[in-house]
């Protein structure tokens, strides 16, 4: 039997590459919801882990702040805040610095830790299209809000028939292609790392020494950092492109 989580061709042998979804069965929920196989997606559980890590780290960093920094902890906290303020300021300008720096910082921290979750043996939440899709939807909402706020609802509607009325279908497709491609980029990069890793382990068999580690360095570390940077940068550039005043 082929389940959605296993590779189609791998049903006969012992080899499986895990697909986009991996679930943890929760038998005690069966009675509550009246379902047969109640389970929870592993991406949700690893997101909880990410949330706990981030909450604890930033709670510890933000305690007992003094006007003049004395502890290394406060210097680190100020460096993080200053880094994201500067990052948003160079990408979006001073006007957006105050309103967007907290969101961009939170998104970047959450994204990069989610991408690195594979190093802890958990599944990357970003290898689940529903996670990256919801982040891309937030970006889409921000873009929509910025467009309507700066150009007015009429201006937003008018932007669909610019520069020519026959461009209407292309403009509509273009508007919806952005969140889809943004979600698929992060998802595809993370999942392809997992799939390629699984294939390499399968191909090498019992000789899987050193080679998977080098590839893991690229797929788990380099790709994770670059992709979260791209995701955040694209969020900022989509929002600033939607600004009719800029």
């Amino acid at each position: 039997m082929i389940t959605p989580g296993t590779m189609l061709l791998a049903e006969e042998g012992t080899f499986t590459v895990e697909g986009p979804l991996r679930s943890i069965p929760l038998p005690f929920l069966n009675d509550i919801f009246g379902e047969e196989n109640a389970c929870i997606a592993e991406s949700v559980v690893s997101q909880w882990v990410v949330m706990i890590i981030l909450a604890v780290v930033f709670f510890v960093l933000g305690r007992n702040l003094k006007l003049k920094p004395e502890s290394k902890r406060q210097i680190l906290a100020e460096w993080i805040v200053g880094f994201f303020s500067g990052y948003v300021e160079t990408s979006m300008g001073t006007r957006y610095k105050k309103s967007y720096a907290p969101y961009i910082g939170a998104l970047f921290c959450f994204c990069i830790l989610s991408c690195l979750m594979g190093l802890l043996g958990l599944r990357n939440p970003t290898a689940d299209v529903s996670v990256t899709g919801s982040w891309a939807l937030i970006t889409f909402t921000l873009v929509l809000y910025t467009k309507i706020k700066t150009g007015g609802f009429k201006g937003y509607m008018k932007s669909f028939i610019e520069p020519m009325p026959f461009m209407l279908p292309f403009n509509i497709i273009g508007d919806f292609a952005n969140p889809i491609s943004q979600a698929m980029r992060l998802f595809g990069n993370n999942l392809s790392g997992i799939v390629i890793g699984g294939l390499i382990y399968y191909a090498l068999g019992s000789f899987a020494i050193a080679v998977p580690a080098v590839l893991s360095l690229y797929f788990d570390l380099f790709s994770a950092v670059i992709q979260s940077y791209i995701f955040v940068t694209l969020t900022m550039s989509y929002v600033i492109m939607a600004d009719a005043d800029a």
Binding site: G5, L8, G19, S181, M184, R185, S192, Y229
Partner: protein, 89 residues
């Protein structure tokens, strides 16, 4: 050959063919990186801004490759053709 075997084999070939689309983004990103290195060589003090633009350009060039990857992954993991017209799931 049963139906499922045929669908599985055809899907594997399809997934491989879909990934040929990886050529385009590869060439595009190569141009992008090369031009960025040229620009940094001419103007080393602007390397930060150039790198940022290069990464955005890379990300946009990558989009078509990502689409082909999604098609390949769909064929491997969430095959729409199994369970259709009496093909066993």
């Amino acid at each position: 050959m049963d139906n499922l075997g045929f669908v599985a084999g055809a899907s594997a070939i399809g997934a491989g063919l879909a990934m040929i689309a990886g050529l385009g983004p590869g060439i595009g990103e190569g141009y992008c990186g090369g031009k960025a290195v040229e620009a940094i060589g001419r103007q080393p003090e602007a390397s930060g801004a150039i790198t940022k633009q290069m990464i955005i350009g890379d990300a946009l060039a990558e989009t078509t490759g990502i689409y082909s990857l999604v098609v390949a992954l769909l064929l491997m993991f969430a095959n729409p053709f199994t369970g259709m017209n009496g093909i066993a799931k």
